[in-house]
Amino acid sequence: MSVVRTAKAAGRPNWLVFDKLGVLIGVIAAAGVMLPFALFRANRIVAGEGRGLAEALPSVVSAVLIGALVIGFMGALFRVAPSVKLVAGVLALIGLAISIGWSARYLTPPEDTLARVSPAGGFWLLVLAFALLVADALIRLRPGPWLRITALVTVGVAVALLLWSGTWDDLSILREYANRAPAFWQEARAHLVLAFGSVAMAAFVGVPIGVLCHKLQAFRTVVLNGLNIVQTIPSIALFGLLIAPLAWVAANVPGAAALGISGIGTAPAMVALFAYSLLPLVSNTVVGLQAVPASAVDAAKGMGMSGSQRFFGIELPLAFPVILTGIRIVLVQNIGLATIAALIGGGGFGVFVFQGIGQTAMDLVLLGTVPTVALSFAAAVVLDALVELSSVRRRR
């Protein structure tokens, strides 16, 4: 990670040298300012017409926004300290977040419940540009795991505040939400149950299998080859293939139907997600256990620890960060895959995505997509931090 310090050209101070990434961010941001900022549609299906920055906002607000964008722009372009870049980028993003809600209120004619205002290409490009700036500054600051979690929580609280205050209420995606708030929370619960439930089940089964694979060479080859094949089955096919056997179980095993097992719905989705999670968990457990240094095991033997004491006291704790990495991989993967469960009636945010595709209603698609992406991003940040925490403790 060598950040190349270009030599001070012609005696200029260090900060006056252009930042290469800053130039890229500047180009993206400039394109964003040129393109329409918000998209106005007479109703949710028709094609929209773009509104530029100047017409999408009252002139005072657009002046303030442009001020914030210029600060972000300067922060990106010059070689200032990463913390300054971070503040500049965050300011620009806050300005964008507030003004898109304002724009929606401003553009929607009063008493018009059909008109839709959504962010347009220009807004997204501006967000991308300054998100790049913030991301780059954050990476250069190298925050520790706790700081990263704190930053995530802060962003979450900020978004919750914006939602609660009603700043975004006139945006098209929240209009869709307002029309189906109870369904949204029901599908959210289904999505969480599918993603987290399948990972929890896979962890309970996969880690012991991984331990067995570590101990028995022959077993390892068979299990890992078998699980590799499961991974090659496309997700929608695996969901579909489980319908028949589970319908059979529901019909023929007493009590199964009472437990909620049936051919369509949550059960096949859960089993499919579980099957996909096994390979990364088993193989990470094996890799983690194999990487335990022999000297540590020998030392434990020398201290007279029994087999199970060695395993639970030495080997498993040492392998834990690698196993946790496996859990991170499958959790992020399953939060995404759970959207497909909607195809077989398993619920989750995918319901909105597929309904939206069917009705060509983009806002509805976004209502399903945005929470899914936010959820998997948050899961990735938190678990990465946990992995780092657990491996730091190991090194001490």
Binding site: V3, P234, S235, G240, L241, V332, G350, V373, A380
Partner: protein, 250 residues
Amino acid sequence: MKVGSIFRLLALVLLIALLLRPETFAGLFALFAGPRQPPIYNQGSLLELTLNHLAIVGAAILASTLVAVGLGVLVTRPIGAEFLPLSRALAQVGQTFPPVAVLAIAVPVLGFGTAPTFVALFLYGLLPIFENTLAGLTNLPPKVTDAAKGMGMTGWQRLLSVDLPLALPVILAGVRLSTVISLGTATIGSTVAARTLGEVIIAGLLSANTAFVLQGGLIVGLLAVLIHDGFSALERLVLARNGQAGAAAG
């Protein structure tokens, strides 16, 4: 390994038979179809769908290989070093987007059909290839790179005749991973009307005909296993040619 290769050969024969003479298996698939349902997919040719599927995946992976290797080379040169940490983080964030979401967002811009599927597969293919290119180019044996420098080779010469050939097996492993993932993901493209094998599976889901789902899934699975093996063999070949055979793993 012997038993393995017999197994692969059987898989290849099964795949070809399934594509050219699907009706041979009607009896088998009838076990999974309902009494009045057709056991073999009858709304199009399986062979044509398979070729289309492979074409979309192939084009997308080719594009992601070019872009990802290009970026990987760029950020490991001094001129692009500033972009290295950010590009790595971006590729990882990109992976948290579910494929369905990418498809759904691409549809309004690109319309229904092949284009949004291509974009989703392209974006999804980038990360594994990019990560492996970085791993390959940053873990070169210092002795070799020093020798190349000592011989007075220029940056370009070192890149083309030393660095890239040595990193090739690792890059190929990334391409293999991306291809296998894309083969499965392409089926989701049929939810936005791309002509892939997902059509067979979705037709099965819609008419509650497990035989269709099984056929689509089986063909995709066989393709994935065979392509996976093909790439692995290619990797071993390159390793052997580079004289890195000792380093061969997995």
